[in-house]
């Protein structure tokens, strides 16, 4: 028998008859929670089209597509994500991984449309009612990162340990550090387009993660035959566009490259790169200058079987990489490692031969099937202010070259350097080291037209120069170098108010009232370099296509109008090693095309 209670108790339910109903009257207009993951929003002016959202989406709901009004440029693919709501599962991983934080989800969850194709749209580019909604899901804070935004710190020699020697400052990554750093890459490849040589950056970074450094080396040599060098001193434009840098530190792409090169022993290069048996074509190419453009051309031509001979004015190879860049940034043994490998492919160098003096261009033309010229910029420019013709006023590039050649250079206790670029920093820091060695103290000051915020030198160069006790006092225009007989007294300057006009043209403005005097026993000018094309005979020059400023014109293959003469590096494009490498590579392909068609 059931208990009475069990019969009566269920009637309790009746008391709920008089309760307020709990249902929502208008469910279609119920606003979702603040964090609700609804339809996408994208700030397309922030988005760079890196496609990281696309690669994390396991539903393949995101495609990157061209969008009106968005242009492809450095650091921006010009594409924007399009979301397909037939596939999206609203996980929001795309939001979490978005490198620019441009992507978010609104808290809107209803969207009624009769055309099924409309459920695919480009957030931010196609207006939607929820674009203006503040609420919705955004990438969480509180230590929530799907990849590490912080760069692996690089060990560097402390100022006290480096200020009197030319020992390399940057110590390089250990295996563990390199792998940690490589792990941060999101493999978007946005850097590849910006790198002048279009190096396979994500691929070689991946090789580090896979600890397959032989593969890494192969990827490097596809586009760059000077990886030890570039791994140290490249201007690394790639890093300025690295998508990880939008909300964190960019990948240290340059140092990862160095890590790969450092870890591969020189003796094994030929085996790893499969260059032990190159098939000769029987054709010969002459190369003028052993700078990066000449070396790169020689390397890729040698791979294609051309017999290359480099003619070099100086007693050692490398151009400005050896005779400009100081040893503390680029040690000679590393420079030689790259160069010797190229020579091992059968490339020959004739040192101490100046084309136009010891051999004429005409002679080269007659003896070789094609000629590549990469003679660089080696003539220092002068400010031409009164006093610059004094014998104690020097050019930075001349001094740097003489230091490398082991010549005794003039070294006073008080030196003023005019210039605010990287070359100026190189000479300033080199002189500071030599002064410290000779006098036990540093007495060098560098000044530039540009104020501190717009100084062209890299920030770390300025910081490190100061750490080494050089004085950097930017924002002054040189007026006159005061001299007395065979002595220099110093440099008179006035305040520089601005360097460029509204059209970004060089038109410095000064405040003549604000004056300063920098006492010095010698002055070094470092305001830029010019080219010396005197090896081109006048008659030949007249036939050659050149612009008004006397620069040789070339086509996409870096071929001049003379057909047999190709040119690259600083005399064509510049201003750095990687452009020289890219030019040399393209010229090598151009020469191959030219000679195969001939």
């Amino acid at each position: 028998m059931a208990k009475l209670n069990d019969i009566l108790s269920p009637f309790t339910a009746w008391k709920h008859v008089v309760r307020e109903p709990v249902t929502i009257k208008d469910p279609l207009n119920r606003e979702a929670a603040d964090r609700y993951r609804g339809f996408h929003k994208n700030d397309i002016s922030e988005c760079i089209g890196c496609g990281t959202c696309e690669s994390i989406c396991q539903n393949a709901a995101i495609d990157l597509v061209p969008v009106d009004g968005v242009e492809t440029k450095d650091g921006d693919s010009g594409l924007r994500p399009r979301v397909d709501y037939g596939r999206c599962c609203w996980c929001g991983l795309c939001v979490d991984v978005c490198t620019t934080n441009s992507l978010s989800l609104s808290n809107e969850y209803t969207w009624v449309d009769e055309d099924p194709d409309n459920f695919r749209f480009v957030p931010g580019a196609e207006n939607k009612s929820w674009d203006s909604r503040e609420k919705g899901y955004k990438k969480p804070g509180n230590g929530y990162e799907l990849y590490n935004p912080k760069r692996e710190a690089m060990e560097e020699l402390e100022p006290e340990k480096r200020d009197q020697s030319f020992i390399e400052i940057v110590q390089g990554y250990s295996k563990e550090q390199a792998e940690q750093e490589a792990d941060r890459c999101v493999e978007c490849g946005i850097c590849v387009a910006t790198c002048p040589a279009h190096m396979g950056i994500p691929e070689y970074i991946k090789a580090i993660r896979n600890d397959d450094l032989n593969e890494g080396l192969r990827v490097l040599y596809d586009t760059n035959p000077l990886p030890e060098i570039c791994g140290r001193i490249c201007t690394h434009k790639c890093e300025t566009v690295c998508s990880v840098g939008h909300h964190g530190d960019p990948l240290s792409i340059r140092w990862l490259k160095r890590y790969i090169a450092d870890q591969n022993p020189a003796e094994e290069y030929k085996k790893i790169l499969n260059t032990e048996n190159l098939q000769p074509t029987g054709k010969k190419v002459a190369i003028i200058g052993s700078g990066p453009s000449g070396l790169s051309a020689a390397h890729y031509l040698a791979l294609m079987g051309y017999q290359c001979t480099i003619y070099e004015k100086l007693p050692a190879a490398g151009g400005m990489m050896r005779f400009g860049i100081p040893e503390y940034r680029l040690p000679y043994d590393q420079l030689d490692k790259d160069i010797n490998y190229i020579l091992s492919l059968g490339v020959e160098i004739k040192y101490n031969v100046t084309i136009g003096k010891d051999i004429t261009l005409e002679e080269l033309h007659n003896q070789y099937d094609a000629v590549f010229s990469g003679t660089g910029l080696h003539m220092g420019r002068s400010t031409r202010v009164p006093g610059t013709d004094h014998p104690k006023v020097y050019q930075a590039v001349d001094l740097l070259r003489d230091i490398v050649l082991g010549k005794e250079i003039p070294l006073e206790e008080n030196i003023v350097v005019i210039g605010g670029g990287n070359v100026a920093m190189d000479i300033t820091r080199s002189l500071a080291r030599l002064q410290k060695q000779k006098y036990g103290k540093v007495g060098v000051l560098a000044t530039s037209l540009e104020s501190e915020d717009i100084m062209p030198a890299d920030r770390e160069e300025v910081i490190e120069a100061r750490e080494e006790n050089a004085v950097i006092d930017p924002g002054w225009g040189p007026v006159e170098i005061e001299t007395e007989g065979d002595k220099v007294k110093g440099l008179h300057v006035v305040k520089c108010l601005s360097v460029f006009d509204e059209n970004r043209r060089f038109a410095p403005k000064f405040d003549e009232e604000q004056k300063k005097f920098f006492p010095a026993d010698m002055v070094v000018e470092s305001i830029g370099q010019g080219m010396d094309l005197s090896y081109l005979p006048e008659a030949f020059k007249e036939q050659l296509d050149m612009d008004q400023r006397g620069r040789i014109l070339v086509n996409d293959d870096f071929q001049t109008s003379a057909g047999w003469l190709f040119a690259g590096g600083d005399i064509i494009q510049g201003p750095d090693v990687i452009h020289g490498i890219a030019n040399g590579h393209k010229a090598a392909m151009g020469i191959d095309k030219y000679l195969s068609e001939k």
Binding site: S9, V22, R37, Q58, L105, N142
Partner: protein, 396 residues
Amino acid sequence: MSKKLLKWNEDRTLFPEKNSEGKIDVDYDSHKFMKIWHGPQHPGITGNMSLELTLLGDEVMDCETHVGYLHRGFEKLMERRKYIQCFPIVCRVAVPEPDFNEYCFASAMEELAGIEVPEAAEWLRTLVLEMSRLQSFLAWMGGQAGSLGQGIIGQWTIYLRDLILDRFEELTGGRIYHMYMLPGGVRGLLPDGFRQRMTENLDEIDRFMKDVKKVMFDNAVFKKRTVGMGVIDPAWIHPFGITGPNARAAGVAKDVRKDNPYLKYPELDFEPVVGKDSDIYTRADVRRRDLLMTVDLIRQIMAKIPDKGDIRAKTPNVLHWKVPAGETYSRAECTRGEYGYYMVSDGTEYPRRINVRGPSYTHAVALLEKMIVNANIADVAGLMVSLHTYPPEIER
């Protein structure tokens, strides 16, 4: 009242004798037998699976369970997905309790990779797992009552469940698929005012559960249909791998939260809920008390959860996270018992093998087939719901 399997008709002379294999010889030509399909579309079937029943009169003579209607190939799919890409997949393995998938997947990965999850994230995970249990018990409660003819309980408990889904929505950004516990941590701290709203919801649940007790449990009809019915013999617990309330109602105090403590459970005060009689009624009552204990646990957790702190550990870049080679099994106590992920990594960016242990596999297939024989057709749904099974976790 003697304990029995759901044996309806006491007069066994009406029924054919079993053969040496313990089965009866079915001769359809005799027109005594009938074969019917219970499911896959049947409101009394939990989820999409079907029972192929052989009936004699209204008594079940034989049953074969059929699954496969929901097979989505998740385990195989995950072998072709990077680990992070499995994260939005796993919650779909068991729709009504997605969070156990998220937790077991994440913690298996964390164990293989040697990653320690921040304190705040551990608490938040504990909270979410208990919230998940709570809403799942509430849904089940409606199902159990409904399968035995009581519509009203479902209306109440689904309302209560919706309150918890509201809290899920504001904490995780999703109502059903929360995608909140990802490898390394969680995706957000408690929102402002969350505690207050949660406390109100828990009070409301307490209030309603008193009426649920009166209307559903102190109910002559419900008792008549469940007391002494569908008994699980304690001797089956081990061989059948029975866990959770199905085991506890038989007096076996199995609870992963105690037996194999994880997250913040060691800092919470609770004892596994056990029963004695192992029939449908006892299982329902164990779940009711378990539900109330979960309400209490949530209150305890809310008092301890930090408002600040990191929510995710530093991990390798998820886009190419190579989990160190090895294997592990990670488990947690869901409403149905032991939920687990067996994970094998070969050291690449992709899992080599992931195997999901959903308790429904044993409960809804082997155990059900055994228990259902001799049940009355009208009790099949009630019996099945009393095992609390979710077919999606059978078919991964």
